[in-house]
Each structure stands twice: as structure tokens, then as C-alpha cells.
Symmetry: D4
Subunit: 175 residues, 8 copies
């Protein structure tokens, strides 16, 4: 379990606007554990704790973080505002919140950042991919993580090939 206080220096900071986003965002922390990338995870709300957000974003690089993953729903300002306060790469996860208009609000308010302030946006509720992308960024200077990513890619292929074999044996049940 990796929370705010981890023994290894976290390289990835996972933040989200509300506790209810954990349902989606846990996939990011789980894959980072699988890929051996130390991380921290906490709640930072752009709209309810703006000063906390400022502090978190402005101190992230000096605290040793390499990437920030920020998930939020609705008019999702957390990823973009964090990106305005750091030069670390920021990955945005649009969360489909309960009163979202089919997810379009969080997707567009994270993706359509103005020139100068990028957010690396992943798919709606795509926290798994946010975690992998963070690991890919870490892998640019960490060969061990690059190796783990290679193994993960092979495992994806193997899973497909197992379904191929099942189908060949005449087993067409849905997984």
C-alpha cells in the first residue's frame, strides 16, 4: 500500500478531486505497483482546496516527483491548473462523474488546454493507461521500468493468444 508516506521516494504523484474518484483512480496505483514505480496518492481539489493544489503543484518537482497524474470529473480543472504551476509532465484522467454529460465535460475541460500549458490526456476513466504512461515516462531514464513495460506488453499479447486458443477449441463463451 503506497500512500502519502512511503519509504521509497515516490516518482509519481496521483491526485484526484474527490474521494469518490478513487473508484476510478485506483487502477493507476495498482499498475504502478505492478510496474515497480514508487508513487504517492492523495486528494487535492482544485475548487475546494485551491491553496493545497497550489502548494502540491509548486513543490512537486523539488520533492522528487517526476510525473503527476490528476483525475477529475465534470468541469475538471485540476489537471490543467496543476500543469500551470509545474513544468513536470501532468497526465489528466477525465472521470465520468455522476452528473456528467456523458463524460464530454471532463474530457473537453482536460484535453483542450491552451497553447503553452499541456496536459497529457488519456481516455475517459482511463486511469490504468495513466499509470502505464507515467511508467513509460519513468522508463525514459530507468531501464528496469522499461523492462517491466516490455514484460507487461508481452502479457497483454499472451492474454489475447489464450482467447484465440480457447476459440479454436470451440469454446465461445464470453469472458
Amino acid at each position: 500500500m503506497a500512500n502519502e508516506t512511503t519509504t521509497t521516494q515516490p516518482l509519481v504523484g496521483i491526485i484526484m478531486g474527490s474521494q469518490s474518484d478513487l473508484r476510478v483512480m485506483n487502477a493507476a496505483s495498482e499498475i504502478l505497483e505492478t510496474l515497480g514505480v514508487p508513487y504517492e496518492l492523495t486528494i487535492v481539489s482544485a475548487h475546494r482546496t485551491p491553496h493545497r493544489m497550489f502548494e502540491y503543484a509548486e513543490n512537486a518537482r523539488k520533492r522528487g516527483l517526476k510525473v503527476i497524474i490528476a483525475g477529475a470529473g465534470g468541469a475538471a480543472h485540476l489537471p490543467g491548473m496543476v500543469a500551470s504551476l509545474t513544468t513536470l509532465p501532468v497526465i489528466g484522467v477525465p472521470v465520468k462523474s455522476s452528473n456528467s454529460i456523458d463524460g464530454w465535460d471532463s474530457v473537453l475541460s482536460i484535453l483542450q488546454m491552451p497553447g503553452g500549458i499541456p496536459v497529457a490526456t488519456v481516455a475517459l476513466d482511463g486511469a490504468l493507461n495513466a499509470g502505464i504512461l507515467a511508467a513509460e515516462i519513468v522508463s525514459t531514464f530507468n531501464a528496469a521500468v522499461a523492462d517491466k513495460l516490455d514484460k507487461y506488453k508481452i502479457s497483454l499479447k499472451d492474454k489475447v493468444m489464450r482467447s484465440v486458443e480457447e476459440l479454436k477449441r470451440g469454446d465461445r463463451d464470453l469472458d
Copy 2:
């Protein structure tokens, strides 16, 4: 001309994310002049000047402002972030910026605020209505502005009735 330094105490603060938004946002300042509501106008970028935004929003009420009008395009975070930092009513103007996806991005990232942090959103490029709405808010405690709003409403009706008369006279030119 009413800029940051006006002699009368401004009641409405008009801010926008970039100088290019002036094209749209000027309509707010013009109608406020018409309606006799003192205002100030400046540029505050959520993403490029986040500290300036914090300072502007947190000092607004104590500086005597009653309403803030905030215009922005694309992933438009200015209105919502200002609303997170003040309890004054904040009016958001979605601006259709040059690389906008038909305006949907600015509309949704201003409108779909989470519970607790409202933004009073007007139509796409609706700075005129933002100005009128600000005056309506001022009119709740200022009878002179209420009177001017009544007169403005009558002028809208009169303009329609003049077109009605022109049509009756057989003049069907487009205006």
C-alpha cells in the same frame, strides 16, 4: 473608458484569459457603461498567471467588487477557479477561441462546475448578457440601476416594434 484605474469605485470586475478575448468581452464593459454600473477590466490568465488569479479573486470582495465577470476559451478554467476563491457571484463567459471544438469545450468547462462552487454561465460569446446579468445583480440593492434596466428592456421592445412597422410598410430588407 474604464480601466483598472477608475475614479468611481468599480462594482464589477471584468477579467479574461487573454488579450484576444477583448474582441468578445468588450460588449460587457459597453453595456455596463450604458447601465451606469462602474467596472474595471483587466487580463488574468488562469494558466499563465495563476498567482495573479489567486490574488485577484481573494481580494475582490474586500476591494469593493460585487460581481466578477470572467471570460475564457477552450479548457476554460478562469471562471471556475475564481469562483473557488471568492464568495462573490462569478459570471462565466464561454469564448469560442480559434482552436475550439465549436465552442463545446469552453461551454462545458465553465458550466459543469461541481456542487459547492457555482459559476453563472451565459451563452457562448455572450458577454453582453454577462454585463446585463451583473447589472441585474447590482440592481438588487441599487434602485438607479434597476431603473436603467427597465429602460433598457423597453428599448429592446421598441426596436422590435420598429421592425414590425417597417415590415408593415412593405420594407422587407434584411437588417
Copy 3:
């Protein structure tokens, strides 16, 4: 319980197109009670009781109301029509009705008002924010409500910080 007959002079009028909108609109009345803003609540249908709507809107200011909150679904004409008949600020709540096309109809028919007749639109089903926005408008001339809004904002932050603490303690249950 604050209905049409309240002992204190109501400052906010909450109206909605149909009894079925109460499910959504109750959040506006509840937060106004929390924030100490007297209100009234009733049903006014633009399409089924157009004369009642006219009367309600035209008498609102002289009856002492300061703000009107109007909720409606589908082709939602109530907020805009009320705005055409008063110079009070009108807050529109797009309600996602049962046969709505994902809420787009109510959002667009409330938001996209023509120049001259503003409606302060909040998020889909955003009645809570409509109530807070109404209180913010009242707070421009009522310091007690401004204080309550400050306290409410702090309570939002406190709730986030409690989740932060829970996460630190290793408790990652969803709320």
C-alpha cells in the same frame, strides 16, 4: 419548511416546470435554509400555465424577491421566459428529464439566450449550485449571508481534508 407562505419575506423564489422536478430542485431550497436565506418554492409551468408564469415574473420584484431560480427540463423555456419579464437576476437549472437527449436539450435551451435577456445557467441538475449562487447574490448587500458563505466554503475544504487524513491512515474505501 418554507413554502409559498413563509413568515419571513422571501428573497429568493424557486420555481420549476413540474412537480417531478422537485427531486432535483429540493437541493436549492435546502442549501438556502442552511445559508439563512428566506425563500419561497412553487410550481410554474411555462407551457401549461403561461399566464401564471407572466404574473409570477412580472410581480417578483415588487413582491420583494431579489433572485429567481427556475428549473426545467427538455425544451426548457421557463428560465428564459421569466427573464424576459423581469429585471431581477434569473438562475436557470437545466433538469435532465426522463425523455431528455442526455440533458443537451435543457442545457442549450436555457444557456443560449439571445443578447439582452440573460439567464445565469448552472450545471445539469445543478440545483445546489443555483441555491449557492442565489445566496452569493444576496450576499452582495447582506453581510450575514456573506459570513455564512465563508463558513460553507471552509466546510467544503474541511471535508476534503478529512478524506486526505483517511487516505493517510491507509483507508482507501470509497465514500
Copy 4:
């Protein structure tokens, strides 16, 4: 030219929210002239002349009108509000106004009427079809108009067949 004062009793009332809609709405009056259906045409704004709208809609049937065509853009409330005030068939023309979000706003705010208050909606900027539909309604009790509609339908077919002939002759110029 058929304006408010025509010698023949108008059967169709064409109204629109603003003079700028004439550009689109003229197609309705032209086809009604072609089909021999007397009509009147004027400007009635739901938001700027709400009382005029009430009076127009409530008197329409007793003045002898059989159908009302109402065109409006943006948050287009005119067709639906007129329909709430009369039991005549009301045809709505969504006009793509200058600040429209690609026409979706006028389409949805005219089309998505609640149960009980229908508006017969035609295509975006579809004033020609609104005029034909009005004539079709008149044709249910007027054989002369039914005949003219038959001839019109044949003329549509003949125009296609002429293009077929042109193509056969090897002429593939665009029309």
C-alpha cells in the same frame, strides 16, 4: 407582397423572433404565394415582446388563422410558447443564428417540447418546408391547395428528370 394587412383572409401566420430571421423565413412566404395560400408575416419576439407574443398567439384562431409558422434561433422559445397559448398547429423553424452552437441550440429548444404542447419542427433553416407543411395542413380542407401541392410535387420530380437528361447528354457540370 403579403404583409400584416392583406386583402384576403390570411390562413397562415408567419412570425419570427427578429428581423434578421427574414433572410431564412422569406422562403416560407414565397412558397405559400406559389401554392396560393394567403398568409401574413410579422415579427414577434418571445423575449423582447412577450406581451405581443401572448396577444398574437391567443387571438390567432379567432382571427381566422389555421396554422402558425414560428422561426427563431439560439434558445428559441417562440414556437413553444406560442404553442402553449393556442390549439392551432404551430410549425417551428430552427434558425441557425450567428452565435448558435452549430444550430443544435435552436433545434433542441424547439423540438424537445414536453408532453401536451407539440411543435411541428422542420429542419434547421427549413422555412421552405415549413411553408409546404402549412399548405399541406390547409389542403386537408381545401382541395385547390391540394391540387397545387400535387403540381408542386410533380415539378420537383421534373427537375430531377431534367438533370438525369443532362447527365445522359454527357453534361456533368455542377448546378
Copy 5:
């Protein structure tokens, strides 16, 4: 019960693309019974029984029908194709079928007819309004139906006023 074989001459023909549309389209027949307008109801599929559709549409006027209501889902071609084969007014009901993309497909394929061939489109799943609109068309030459429509409009208002009274009595249960 009014099916294909009714004793009174049907004035309205209700058709739909598939038996599964009955769930939605029954609302049209029920309101026509309430309003005293004789009708017939059957299934005509544009894509599976195109010849039947041709025959139905081309014979409708001579069989005494005054209006056709056509409901269909997905790529909904029935209303538009019927309109191409008759000069009677055709009312289109976009049905939200099981694999519809949120109803957009049926709405757009019924609404956006080319110039010359109108379809009077009502809201998604709006069969009730289709029935009322058909009655309004019949009312242009039938005073008894006009009277029933007046009474129906009053009943809509009365239902709202009853909810108003319930709210006044402090009963805020949802209906």
C-alpha cells in the same frame, strides 16, 4: 380499440416501423381517442415492406385520411419516405430504439428533410405530442375537436395548479 378496421372513417393513420415501436406509439392512439379523432393503427416498415409503404402512402388521401403519424427508430426513413409519396401532412416520431446512438440517429434522419418534402417532427419518443398535433390539424376544419383541445389544455393547467396547492399544504412528495 381502434385498429385497421374501425367503423368510423379514420382521419389519422398511425404507422410504425416495427411492433416494438408500439410501446412508444400507443400514446398517440390513446390521446386521439381522448380527443375524439378516429384513427387507424398498423405496422409499415420502410426497409422490410417497402411496397406496402408505397401503397399505404399513395392511397392515404383517397382513403380519407387527413394526417399520417409515422414513428421509427435508428436510421428512420419511414416518415420521410411516406412524405415523399403523399401531400398529406406527415408527423414523424423519432423512436429511441435499442441500438440507437442516444436517439440522435432517429431525430436527425426524420428532422433534416431536404427542401420540398417536409416532415413535422416531434420530440424523441414524443408520440403523445404527435397525437395532439394530428388533432390540432383536424381542428382546423372540425370545431368539435377544437373544443376538445381547449378542454385538454385546461386539464393540463388544472393538473399543475393541483400540484401548486399540494406544495402550499406542505406536501413536497415527488409525484
Copy 6:
């Protein structure tokens, strides 16, 4: 049951991005069996088994396949990538996957292919139609399949006519 190893030479290859797509794609194989067209069915993932996809697509024609049906969800690249690697007709089935944005992602990423590389796209989750379309293509050189398609078309009409009869008998139950 026809899997990768069928005794008859398969003419249609049905592939899909993941085992979970079987739920939708089975409709293609079932109709091909009905229409007497030999096929094979397997899983080929563009993103998890890209080399397998290359091999499958490049060998398809020489292996005797005449048509490829490819189903995928989300950012669905399988149909288009297969089309880039073969000159056989490729039919794309947009699958509405679990985190899809209402199906728009798979529809657009299959449909909007650049000039030079067509994909024959069918409706969202339209695997049944993909199978029929494949049979129609086979029918261009195989009269037996053409006959079966004729019979299938008649069966569609017969099913409608049976509902017509049921309705005539007064049975308005939903199917």
C-alpha cells in the same frame, strides 16, 4: 460451429479486438451460417497483437478469403489497419465497449478513414448487418447465396406482415 479450422474453405474472416466483443460479433457468424457462407472467426487485436494483425491481413486474400469483418470498440483501429494491409473489402463493426463515450469513439474511428483506404462501416453493434453485407458481396459471384439472400429478405417482410395481422386481430401486446 465454424472456428479457425473449418472443413469448407472459409470465404469470410470474422475478427475482433477482444473476447468480450464476441457478445456482439456472434450475430455475424450466425447469419453467415443461415445464409450458407463458410467463415472463420478469431481474435486479432490491433493494439495487443499488431504482428498477428499484419500477418492475418496480408495473407487473407491468398488464403482464399473474400471479405473480412472486423469488430472493435473505443479507439477502434482494427478495421482500418486491416484495410491498409489488404485489398479485400473490409467491413467494420463499431462495438460499444464498456468505457465508450456512447459509441461515438468506435463509430468515428472506423468510419472516417482517409481517402485511399475504405472501410465498409455498419451501425453501432451492427454485426448482423455486417454478416449480411458479407453475404451480399459473396452473392455477386455466387448465385446460391443470392438466392438465400432473397429468401431472407422475404422472411423479414413476412415477419412484419405477421405483426400486421396480430394488430388487426386486436392484439396489441408488445413483442
Copy 7:
């Protein structure tokens, strides 16, 4: 030039709803000439010449056609209606007509066909791809066309490789 009267037996029939669609649809005929596939081209309007459409579709197979390409805009019923009247493969080209809502209407009214009646839909204004797809279908029984398709695919690659070379030489002008 290949019009209705060509000396070689046409294998592909290109039809479109109006002469104005030629601007888009010519790309289909041009690529078919390049690929050596005989075709015919004419205008068939679903809404203005429904009988002509019936006759065209029902006679297509017996006249020797193997594929039909049908282009139409707005509420585009031509491809689907033709598909309901033949068992030949029908390719639908959504044309972005002048009053289209950004092309969504023609895309959805062609793509979202009900089960049983497929239309092979290509991209908006994708007539070039419709022609190639028709040739791919012909190639399933015609080796000469398969060869031409191979050569065409190579030419696409060669064009890309020429731009690669230009960029290498430092020439970054836009094409």
C-alpha cells in the same frame, strides 16, 4: 466519360440524390475509371423520384450491376431505401449538404440501418473510398481489378515516400 449509356456492361451503379452531389460523387467515378471498373452514373432522388428509385434498385441485379454506390445529404434515405429493395451490396456516401448540421444528419441516417438491411457506409464526403470499396468487391471475382488495386495501394505508398524524401532534403513546404 461513362454515363448511363456505356458500351461495356457497367458493374457499378453510382447514384445520388441531386445534381449538386456531383461535386462530391465524381471522385467515385474517377477512381473506378482508374481501376478499370465499368460503371454508370445517374441521379435518383429518394424523395423527389421515389418510383424511379424503386425501379432502379429492383432492376439493378438483373441489369448486371454488382454494386450500387448511393450518395445523399441531410436526412439521407437513398442508400438505405435502395438497400431495402435489392440484395446487392449498397455503399452509402454521406454528403455534407449546405444546410447539414455538420454532416451528422447524413452520416447517422445512412449508417444506423436496422438489422436486416445493411448499408456499407464510408466517411463523410468519402466518394473516393466508395469507388475503391466497389472495386474491392468486384476484385473478389475479377483478378484484373485485384491487380489494379495492388498497384493503386503501391502508388499511395510511393506518394508518401516522395514526401519523406522531400523532407529529408530540407524542403518543408506544405503541399
Copy 8:
């Protein structure tokens, strides 16, 4: 000018589907030059040169690249397919191509990647932000680039503050 043959080892590979994307993608190369990050730029088409794409993606890491920026329009498969063939971070730029449906096709076909294969998506035509994001990734292991990013962020702020000063001086010209 940095093309395929640069003397410094390129760290970022910029690829795009067609020469016409250079108009948009040049912004990525320009900002990388400003930020001192060596890069290469070439054309790789997923659909027209699939083997070249495979080779490029599979060799990228061993050739020393740290990040790949891939831009494409319409059904944009290049970024996702490259991501399926490498474990380097891949940044996707949705390009609004000429026949795009308002950019939605390229946005969704790049953004909505399935779990396991992330693409870091930036705004529509957001090549500038793609370049900055690539530099941010490089900055995680390269302090010189981190410094340049800090300076760039300050320059963005300075540009805003200059507009603020211009406005104060009464100069409200649009930039």
C-alpha cells in the same frame, strides 16, 4: 533546421500521417528548438505505409528516442498503432483534417485507447503543447531542459503582464 539527419542524437521523433499535417505539426518542432531538445521529423502513414510505421515504432527506443509525437487527422490510427509497438511515451496530436467532422473523429480515435496502450493526447491541432509535453518528459532526466521550461513559463506570464500594462494605459486594441 532539424530533419531526419541531425548531427545531435534526436530525443524526440515527430511523425505525421501526411505532408499536409506539416501546417499544424511544425509548431512542435519549433518549440523543441526553442527548448533545446534535439528532434527528428518525418512522415509515417499508418494506412499508406504500415510497414514503415512498424519499423519506425519498433526501432525508436533502440535508436535513442525518448518520446514520439504522432499527429494525424480523421480516423487517426497512427498514434495508437505506434503506441502498440513501443513502450516509449507516445504523444498524439489530433489534426483537424479537411473532411473531419469538426475534429471529433481525430480526437476520439486518438484519445479513447483501450486499457494497456496509452496515448498522451493533446488538444485539437495542439502541436505546440505536444512539443512542450515532450520537453517536460525529457526534463525529468535533463536539468538543462527543465531550466528552459521554467524560462518559457515565465515568458508566458510576462506576455500576459504586458497586455495588462497596455490595457492600463487605455490601449484596448485587439492583438
